[in-house]
């Protein structure tokens, strides 16, 4: 008698557990309709009646999924989905804080990686009033506070030891999303991620409107450039790092920017999605006669560049003082507005690049994020 009682209770306990997994909704089976994206290829927003889900992919082939989010009234969703329920947000890069701030949802942010590097006034006042706290960068993340508060963590795909960070977040059941915006090929594709944040922060309308504005402004700037500007300066970007140059490939969005701003990117013909390394010498040979130099690492003045290595002065772009960097707006701690706002507003960046690359055309206008180095 006693044994059968024990046996029955074990059975019941087992079936309860299996009921739990059976009860989780099979979201894949729902008939999802996908919102079409204009430019982005690394995410998909799909809807089914009042449910919404966001899928993030490694690339446009959609073979690897980096994350899945669900918004709706189902509570029992599969473990590989993150449930969006209005939780606070944690941004491991100021880029994401920029996205959220742009759609007027700054107050939903609970944490940023380093408060020093935040530029926007609104975010800074939230930091000063203690509403936004620091959670550390990916190399020294404050797991304890994240595990307790369980905000939704926006992170990028961390190379190297980053996988252990992601594994640990999984173990501690911290909800996270790997944002793959920087692998978009088109600058507008990157900005389109506003829609992702729009869903998450319940600001879909604001996000949609803002994106439309950005697209139309970008396209009109592009059109203006194509119609009116005929000369195409040659452009290169970056600087040396340990004897070698990290060169962005021809398919990256920096190459796109240069092309759209009416320039010829020196490396536009090599069909690379990412970066490659070149020796200083080889880079010099290819770029020595280029007209314009943009994004020279972190330098602020030509003197700084020259004192780092006097071979930089051999470039024609340096000799003609056609060097521009995107660090015009920085706060006293080194925080650069470009990373927060420039990513969200590629239309402004495009206009900036136009002004830099064709100064005779825009004599009375000044770029916002970029400055002319002297």
């Amino acid at each position: 008698m006693r044994y059968s009682l024990i046996f029955c209770s074990i059975l019941i306990w087992l079936s309860c557990n299996s009921n739990n997994t059976h009860n989780s909704i099979n979201l894949e089976a729902l008939d999802w309709q996908e919102d079409s994206n204009s430019y982005a290829s690394n995410f998909a927003i799909q809807r089914y009646t009042e449910h919404t889900r966001i899928l993030v992919f490694k690339d446009k082939n959609r073979k690897d999924t980096l994350g899945k989010l669900y918004k709706g009234h189902f509570q029992n969703i599969p473990l590989d989905y993150v449930l969006l329920n209005g939780q606070k947000l944690a941004c491991l890069s100021s880029v994401y804080a920029g996205f959220v701030d742009a759609i007027n949802a700054a107050q939903q942010i609970g944490y940023v990686d380093e408060t020093d590097f935040i530029y926007s006034k609104r975010l800074r006042s939230l930091i000063d009033s203690g509403k936004i706290k620091e959670c550390g960068t990916e190399s020294d993340l404050n797991f304890e506070v994240l595990a307790q508060q369980k905000p939704l963590v926006f992170t990028y795909e961390i190379d190297g030891q980053g996988n252990s960070v992601i594994e640990r977040m999984k173990k501690l059941k911290i909800p996270f999303l790997i944002c793959n915006d920087f692998r978009e090929n088109h600058p507008l594709g990157r900005a389109e991620w506003l829609k992702v944040f729009g869903v998450i922060c319940n600001q879909q309308h604001v996000a949609g409107q803002l994106f439309d504005e950005i697209v139309s402004h970008y396209e009109s700037t592009l059109y203006f450039c194509q119609e009116n500007i005929k000369t195409k300066p040659t452009v290169f970007s970056g600087a040396m790092f340990g004897g070698n140059w990290n060169v962005s490939g021809g398919n990256t969005f920096i190459a796109q920017f240069i092309k759209h701003a009416g320039g010829t990117y020196i490396f536009e013909d090599d069909n690379i999605d990412g970066n490659k390394l070149m020796t200083f010498e080889n880079f010099y040979i290819r770029c020595k006669d280029a007209d314009v130099w943009i994004n020279p690492n972190h330098y602020h003045t030509l003197q700084e560049i020259k004192s780092e290595d006097n071979r930089y002065a051999l470039f024609k772009a340096f000799k003609n003082k056609r060097v521009y960097n995107n660090n015009r707006l920085i706060n006293q701690y080194g925080g650069n507005a470009y990373w927060e706002m420039g990513v969200v507003r590629p239309d402004i960046v495009l206009k900036d690049l136009l002004i830099c690359m064709h100064p005779y055309f825009f004599e009375n206008e000044n770029p916002i994020f970029y400055k002319h180095l002297d």
Partner: protein, 311 residues
């Protein structure tokens, strides 16, 4: 003996020429601006590789003698890290590039003094070696901490500096390094007899009239200058100081420093030049990190030494 010096001297000259002509994966005279390329890019690389490789190798030879340990070398004992720490502190304090060579030499020197002080109390050379290695780790940890708390710009400069490379050396600095090389070479050779006698051990050398302390100190100064100068401009260079002396002894089979010093200079120079050639884009257009290439070249030598010692 003379034959071996000549052979390695010629090898060095050969590799030097090859590095200058083909070091980038392209033939020098095919360029439109050959002289400029030669002067600004090819020559500095080859000069600094030759000089740094040679000096570090001689230092390694002397370190292995005075510490009585075949695994001693400027980088293994943490001396490069000592130089690195001083450079990090200098950069973070905002001092420009000019102060770096002095900082690197001072860093190497102070670190070595610390090692010498420790060696007074620790007789076992294995223990001393372990302490050196741990010292290297501790310093790396300190540097990492500094990186975390420092401002972004200074941090970037340090990270840039810390990747060892000959291609980042500008022309004027390459000549400076090259100027030190003969000085280190001839200064070491001047004390050849003393280093020979030191092979019998500090006690026996002392009984034969050699001031072991003084010779020890001289070896340290030579190492400090060599490591300081190389590390200041090229960043930390791995393994040459450890492996090249062993290769040299394998070829020469003598105890006499009047031969060991010049040959190990040329072996070290050749090794560094070879690594520079291989990492500069000649292999399939790929740019490889210098220290990784050096490790691959040096690893078989080091493994052989370890295996031979334990058999």
């Amino acid at each position: 003996m003379i034959k071996t010096i000549v052979i390695f001297g010629l090898l060095t000259v050969l590799l030097f020429t090859f590095d200058v002509l083909f070091g980038n994966g392209t033939f020098l005279f095919n360029q439109t601006d050959s002289f400029l390329i030669f002067q600004q890019f090819r020559l500095p690389r080859a000069l600094s590789a030759l000089a740094a490789g040679g000096m570090l190798s001689v230092s390694g030879l002397l370190m292995q003698n005075v510490f009585k340990n075949p695994l001693a070398g400027p980088d293994v004992l943490g001396i490069s890290q000592g130089a690195a720490l001083m450079v990090a502190l200098t950069l973070l304090a905002g001092v420009g590039f000019g102060g770096i060579i002095l900082a690197a030499c001072l860093g190497a020197f102070f670190y070595l003094l610390l090692l010498v002080w420790a060696s007074k109390y620790i007789k076992s050379s294995i223990t001393l070696l372990l302490i050196g290695v741990m010292g290297g780790f501790i310093i790396s940890a300190i540097i990492s901490t500094l990186q975390v708390i420092s401002q972004a710009e200074a941090l970037k400069s340090y990270v840039i500096w810390s990747m060892g490379s000959f291609s980042k050396v500008e022309a004027i600095y390459a000549w400076i390094i090259f100027a030190f090389a003969p000085f280190i070479l001839f200064f070491s050779m001047y004390f050849s007899k003393a280093f020979d006698t030191l092979l019998l051990g500090n006690q026996k050398a002392q009984l034969l009239g050699i001031n072991s302390q003084k010779v020890f100190f001289i070896a340290i100064i030579i190492t400090a200058i060599a490591t300081g100068v190389s590390t200041a401009f090229c960043g930390p260079i791995a393994f040459v100081g450890l492996a090249a002396p062993h290769l040299c002894k394998w070829f020469l089979k003598t105890y006499k420093h009047q031969w060991l010093i010049p040959v190990s200079f040329f072996v070290g120079a050749s090794m560094a030049l070879l690594a520079d050639i291989l990492s500069g884009g000649i292999i399939g257009g790929f740019v490889l990190p210098l220290n990784a290439t050096l490790s691959i070249l040096a690893a078989p030598v080091i493994i052989y030494v370890i295996v031979k010692k334990t058999l």
